[in-house]
């Protein structure tokens, strides 16, 4: 069974600004769960569309109640693929994002269409759809529910991140002060250290069982 979710929203910036921000949105203060970002494929088609594949590493924490059902060595990171097509002629961008690891436990696929808002050409509309499924016997319903709740909270972070990056591009913001940047950097370093410690701990645990 697949849980389906859809919503739409808008950004108060023009399509070209939003598309540009799309490639520059990491890091931002709302993206602490995004650890790495890479373009692994890119091409301009003969129809002058830009197609790209981005590989992201995100932290992926299971809810505490689910931890005891999951393999102890399960990585605390998930790899995500984000494919996109940018069409400057129709002023639209379509993205498809899905996780390529832990997909049996929980798989989330998200499709977004960005286009010019018909009521205000200086704004950009985003239509979002998501499909959430789990193949974990006996727990799939609970995991889907958790996945949907987390997905919704991530959508709001994504939108805040976008707004932050757009404001920075348009020179309105608060480009972050040095002190703030240092705090973010420290948080990232701490997070990386925590992940490493967890990896080591789970490796140590595994060794005990061998």
């Amino acid at each position: 069974m697949v849980k389906y979710f859809s919503c739409s929203g808008f950004l108060k910036s023009s399509w070209d600004q939003v598309f540009l921000a799309f490639w520059q949105r990491y890091p931002n203060p709302y993206s602490n769960h995004v650890l790495t970002e890479d373009i692994i494929f890119r091409e301009v088609t003969p129809e002058h569309r830009l197609i790209s594949r981005r590989l992201l590493t995100k932290t992926s924490r299971a809810p505490r109640w689910a931890e005891k059902f999951l393999p102890a060595h399960m990585a605390q990171k998930a790899f995500i693929i984000e494919d996109s097509v940018v069409d400057p002629e129709s002023r639209s961008m379509t993205t498809l994002t899905w996780n390529i690891t832990h997909a049996r436990v929980m798989s989330i696929e998200e499709r977004c269409v960005f286009s010019v808002n018909p009521d205000n050409n200086n704004w950009t509309e985003i239509k979002r759809e998501a499909w959430i499924s789990s193949n974990l016997y006996g727990l799939s319903r609970a995991i889907q529910k958790f996945g949907l709740a987390r997905f919704k909270s991530n959508v709001s972070k994504t939108m805040k991140g976008f707004e932050f990056v757009l404001a920075r591009m348009q020179g309105e913001t608060p480009t972050r002060t040095l002190a703030e940047s240092a705090t973010v950097k420290a948080r990232e370093t701490a997070l990386a250290a925590k992940e490493k410690a967890k990896d080591l701990a789970s490796q140590a645990q595994k060794k005990q069982y061998v």
């Binding site: 890479d38 373009i39 692994i40 890119r42 830009l50 498809l96």
Partner: protein, 74 residues
Amino acid sequence: MNSVGEGCTDLKREYDLCFNRWFAEKFLKGDRSGDPCTELFKKYQTCVQKAIKEKDIPIEGLEFMGPSKDKADS
């Protein structure tokens, strides 16, 4: 933003800078003149694709705009 390959981040930044400029100033404006960033992209890809192999990240054989196709119609 960091690359998944620890040693690739500088190559990625150089490429990103080049790409963002081209994307904003040429591509989005409908200018079809060639992409000036291909050399930087190649260097960056050599590095990152090696890191992906070393880390066993399962990116092989994934169809472009892959898994949702069948669901998108329903």
